[in-house]
């Protein structure tokens, strides 16, 4: 399946995320989830980047919190609301929120 996962928390979500497998996995960081891509806790990258997935970060939530694209991990693509709508409708068959 093609699975899109919205993460809106700075918690790792590992109880769910570690077990998820999908033919195509997209992790979309929104709300407080943007911190996964914008800061390193104790110098370490977020464990979510261990997943084999496409990573996206919502620009609006990033900028509201005082960050911009230059702060974002290079593996994550900065997208806007319109892009997220396109991802939901065009790229992923199922969407979950953790």
């Amino acid at each position: 399946m093609k699975l899109g996962v919205f993460m809106s928390s700075f918690e790792s979500g590992s109880d769910v995320l570690d077990r998820l497998t999908a033919e195509k996995l997209g992790i979309i960081l929104v709300g407080n989830g943007v911190y996964h891509a914008a800061v390193k806790d104790s110098g370490k990258e977020s464990p979510i980047f261990k997943k084999s997935a496409n990573f996206y970060v919502l620009a609006e939530d990033l900028e509201s919190r005082g960050f911009n694209a230059s702060n974002v991990d290079s593996r994550a693509k900065v997208v806007n609301y319109g892009d997220v709508v396109d991802l939901i409708f065009n790229d992923y068959e199922k969407i979950i929120w953790i």
Binding site: S8, S9, Y35, E63, S64
Partner: protein, 138 residues
């Protein structure tokens, strides 16, 4: 004899997803307006402390008004400094996230404030918590 009640507003929550950190700012600011309810010689002295994830509230360039249509916590931080509230930001937690002082709201000079925020080790915050009458955690 003057009686001063010291209140600590300790922020450990990230901004925006919940109202918690915003409430810390607004409560701390509002504590400056309660004089009408106090007896002569009584006063309230608030201190805002940012620890853990709460240090993210102190980042510059928050564009919450642009994207969410709400006042940013950056503006609340500046209003706090404008009112000469004591603001302490935990150094260890800033270091943990690799956040430098130049990324932080350290003053409110652009709106006429003179008080500056302080980056301090947690031990300083601990001393402050021991000195206050009440602690509120957000």
């Amino acid at each position: 004899m003057a009686t001063i009640k010291k209140l600590a507003f300790v922020v450990r929550s990230l901004p925006y997803k919940t109202e918690a950190s915003r409430l810390a700012f607004t409560h701390a600011i509002a504590s400056q307006t309660v004089e009408i309810y106090l007896e002569d010689g009584e006063n309230i002295e608030p201190v805002l402390c940012f620890i853990g994830n709460g240090v993210m509230n102190c980042l510059k360039n928050q564009q919450a008004m642009k994207h969410y249509g709400i006042t940013s916590n950056e503006q609340h931080m500046k209003n706090s400094l404008l009112l000469d509230l004591k603001v302490m930001i935990c150094k260890e937690d800033l270091d943990k996230f690799g956040i430098k002082e130049d990324a932080l709201i350290m003053d409110a000079e652009d709106i006429g404030g003179e008080t500056k925020a302080q980056i301090v080790p947690y031990s300083e915050i601990q001393k402050e918590l021991e000195a206050v009458d009440h602690i509120q955690l957000f």
